[in-house]
């Protein structure tokens, strides 16, 4: 008998409620459907209907017993629970009555009249009990969580707050912490199902805490029960979210820790708190403060297959930088037996807006051809090392305002190119190993482009 004493046998059986409860629903809907079919098609389905009602009653009674066992654990909203319980019990009783009426063939007038009314009542009760049962299990907001705002307002719910994702105006609780609670915690800690008597839905409920007291100690994550529970070993009995639910990600955990340590504020903006680079990174992980890069801001049409094919047959290797992206990377192989020429560039220029990475390393380039490269306005990376490019040739690149990486090592370039390079305002990295650029020249470039890193080799 120790087996029964040591384990919570009531809960063990109680949890089967959620599974078994679907049987009476099915049987009763089946009986009602058969009744409609027999009415419409004029066939006799009375025997089937009788037994469907009986099975509905039997499975209903078992479900009610299991349901009472499950509810004994507590943690459910009392009003919702009572409504669910009593609608289910009354429904089961009426179903039993329907079974009795159906079984006795001898029709009494009041039975005949009241039968359709009772069937309708059972159907209504079935939906009320079922819906409230769902609310108890999943939370009352579950059903309409992803409903359009028009439907939400019909149901008397708050329209979804448009989440602010701009770093400067996002609120730390509303936009960062609350969404984490909503997605990972509030299935169990909501109005209808406050497990451990804890709700995590708003400021009031969070500060109130649960059956063991407060869960958050402002400024001290190490003393906060909530933080302790989400950082335990996942196999620990007290780890949250409990077994089977998706745990918090490392980023989410760190953000909660940061929020508590920074005073667990509910009305402050994110920027009013102490922001380290790590936190900024993690905020981006949950969608706050993402900046669009230049490439993301480009909205270009894809180049047609046919054009891509013609570029490839001209000797270029070309492919999307991201799968399905309109942006392209292109390169010309130094293995190619054919010299690069104006006619080849003419083909590649059909995609001049789309090519953003261009690699022409080790491909000898005539100065006259350099004017072509200057036309790829959206270039961010250009590799033209060891290509015999002169100061004169480099002048053609000065319009490439979005160029971030420029590799011109191994070219006969001198300080005469300083002025050209200074004009590349977007430049972040410049590779000038084995060129004629002097220290003084590089210093000049750096003076006008302070963001720039120049790599000049050993």
């Amino acid at each position: 008998m120790t087996f029964f004493l040591e384990t919570d046998i009531v809960q063990f059986f109680g949890r089967f409620h959620a599974m078994l409860v679907h049987l009476p629903i099915g049987f009763i809907i089946l009986a009602v459907s058969f009744e409609l079919i027999s009415f419409k098609k004029k066939v006799d389905l009375d025997l089937a209907i009788t037994y469907a009602f009986l099975l509905g009653v039997i499975s209903g009674i078992v479900s009610i017993i299991l349901g009472l066992m499950l509810a004994s654990d507590g943690g459910y909203n009392v009003d919702t629970l009572n409504l669910h319980k009593w609608t289910a019990i009354i429904m089961t009783l009426i179903t039993f009555l329907l079974f009795l009426i159906k079984r006795k063939k001898k029709d009494i007038l009041w039975k005949k009249k009241s039968y359709p009314v009772l069937v309708s009542v059972v159907v209504v009760l079935l939906f009320v009990a079922g819906h409230n049962g769902g609310n108890l299990t999943h939370g009352s907001t579950y059903l309409l969580e992803h409903a359009p705002n028009s439907i939400r307002s019909l149901a008397g719910m708050k329209p979804v707050r448009e989440r602010v994702t701009v770093l400067d105006s996002a609120l730390v609780f509303e936009d960062v912490i609350h969404p984490i609670f909503e997605s990972k915690c509030n299935v169990c800690h909501n109005d209808d199902k406050a497990k451990g008597e804890l709700l995590l839905i708003d400021e009031e409920s969070i500060l109130k805490g649960g059956e063991n007291g407060e869960v958050i100690v402002a400024g001290e994550s190490s003393k906060s029960e909530l933080y302790r529970r989400i950082t335990l070993d996942p196999n620990h009995k007290e780890f949250m979210p409990t077994e089977g639910r998706t745990p918090l990600t490392n980023e989410e955990t760190v953000l909660i820790q940061w929020w508590i340590d920074e005073g667990a504020a509910f009305d402050k903006k994110v920027v009013e708190l102490n922001l380290t680079d790590r936190i900024k990174n993690y905020l981006q992980e949950v969608g706050i403060g993402l900046k669009k890069t230049f490439l993301e801001s480009l909205d270009l049409a894809k180049i047609e297959e046919k054009t891509i094919d013609s570029i490839q047959s001209a000797g270029f290797k070309v492919k999307s930088i991201i799968n399905e992206s309109a942006l392209l990377e292109a390169s010309y192989s130094s293995y190619s037996k054919e010299q690069i020429s104006q006619s080849k560039f003419d083909v590649l220029l059909n995609a001049k807006e789309n090519v953003t990475w261009l690699n022409l390393a080790n491909v000898p380039m005539e100065t006259s051809l350099m004017t072509n490269i200057g036309q790829f306005k959206n270039l961010t990376t250009l590799r033209i090392n060891n290509a015999n490019i002169s100061d004169e040739g480099l002048k053609y690149l000065t319009d490439l305002k979005h160029l971030e990486h420029l590799n011109i090592y191994g070219n006969p370039i001198t300080d005469a190119s300083v002025a050209s390079l200074q004009k590349l305002s977007g430049l972040k990295k410049l590779y000038v190993w084995k060129t004629g650029l002097t220290e003084a020249g590089m210093t000049k470039i750096k003076d006008s482009l302070p963001e720039l890193k120049i790599i000049s080799g050993e």
């Binding site: 490392n250 980023e251 790590r278 990174n281 993690y282 992980e285 490439l295 290797k317 930088i321 991201i322 799968n323 390169s331 192989s333 293995y335 590799r383 090392n385 990486h405 590799n407 090592y409 990295k429 590779y431 190993w433 790599i455 000049s456 080799g457 050993e458």
Partner: protein, 488 residues
Amino acid sequence: MDLYNESQKRKLEFTTRRHFLKQCTTGLGGIALSSLMGPQQLFATNTNPSFDPKNVPHFLPKAKRVIYLHMAGAPSQLELFDYKPELKKLHDLDCPKSLLEGKRFAFIQGTPKMLGPQFDFKQYGQSGTYISDALPHFSQIVDDVAIVKSMHTDEFNHAPAQLLLQTGSARSGRPSMGAWVTYGLGSENENLPGYMVLVSGGKNPSAGKNAWGSGFLPSEYQGVQCRNSGDPILYVSNPNGMSRDIRRKSLKAINDINESQYKEFNDDETLSRIAQYEMAFKMQISVPEVMDVSKEPDYIKDMYGAKHGEASFANNCLLARRLVEQGVRFVQLYHWGWDMHGDSKATSLDQGLKTKSEEVDQPMTALVKDLKQRGLLDDTLIVWGGEFGRTPMRENRGGVVMPYYGRDHHTEAYTIWMAGGGIKGGISYGETDEIGYYGIKDKVHIHDLQATILNQLGINHEKFTYNFQGRDFRLTDVHGRVIKDLIV
């Protein structure tokens, strides 16, 4: 593994439970099931990969190539990167029982002694990173690398640990990281294989060529191993009397026959075979050229310490640079001989490890510097490390004192470093306890490392799958988390 064994293994790989149902004469259950489910569903063939390689990159890649420097045998983190002054104080004291209970080691028995670090450490660079005196060159580039001190693995023997690291599974038969990557991203140069392997140190790694196999991926994605002397790849040059024209014609004839075979049987491996013949033909020109180190100027050879004709790590590092420069996607280096148990002078921490460190220190440093000055470090990811770490205890094989200082295999904590390819420079990630026994902060598992490498290449490791034997396989199996803190 000889050809016969390999063909047996191949055959077994394609034998599934379905073959059992098909062939078993008493498989009545199977027959009954087949009538219920429809024959196509039950006896589906596995020749239709659900995955289209064109799905990658999933997002903007930071790295376009990888050079993986695998130190086969597992170097000691406690002598090279993970500075533990506390361990020095505990030197020669008995290891506390609490560290041994419930643990299994490859060789340690009974109660071993603690062993202090055998080299001194100093701080280098703006980051103030501690580096051992055994790596004087490497200490110059600490501001370009990220050192991960909290690596851990599941396997304490070389071959399974190497397989886990390279293929994501400790059992043989899975595709290696390089095969996955080239399968997804292809090669940047159609004249060279996308995945090349160079071995030095005297022996192949214990995991053998399974460590660069293609597993269930089409076999054209397996690593191509190059030799350091003679033909870089066996039989790459034409035999006497065979001109390039005749070779071309005979290959055309073979490919035509293969093509008609493919039309008849629809076996994807036939296409692989055609592609391999074509690649081999191109490689006859491209490989001898790219593998010829003698074309490098002397100051570059000196920078690496490369000497013509040697099967050295230095030559291989220089070759690795030449290969990525030509657009090879994944270059895998193995340097064997780091297994410092202390049973001989060559495997002692104070002498053997010093020799090994000298072999790799200058070349690996030169590789980072050379790629940097050529502008290739930005989009080439370098990873350096072994398959596991070494114990803070001195090895006592058979319960006796060993002739030299050595350490046993250790899975709980070890160090690797990464550079380039969008990895932060000048940082240390993760921490171990005072004696380097356990990772205590930001632990990184092998699968996390693999997920991070794929992430740098623009690949979401959870979406990058291949359907084989009825299920979708991934490099990281069902594990792995991208280490965001390592990324720029």
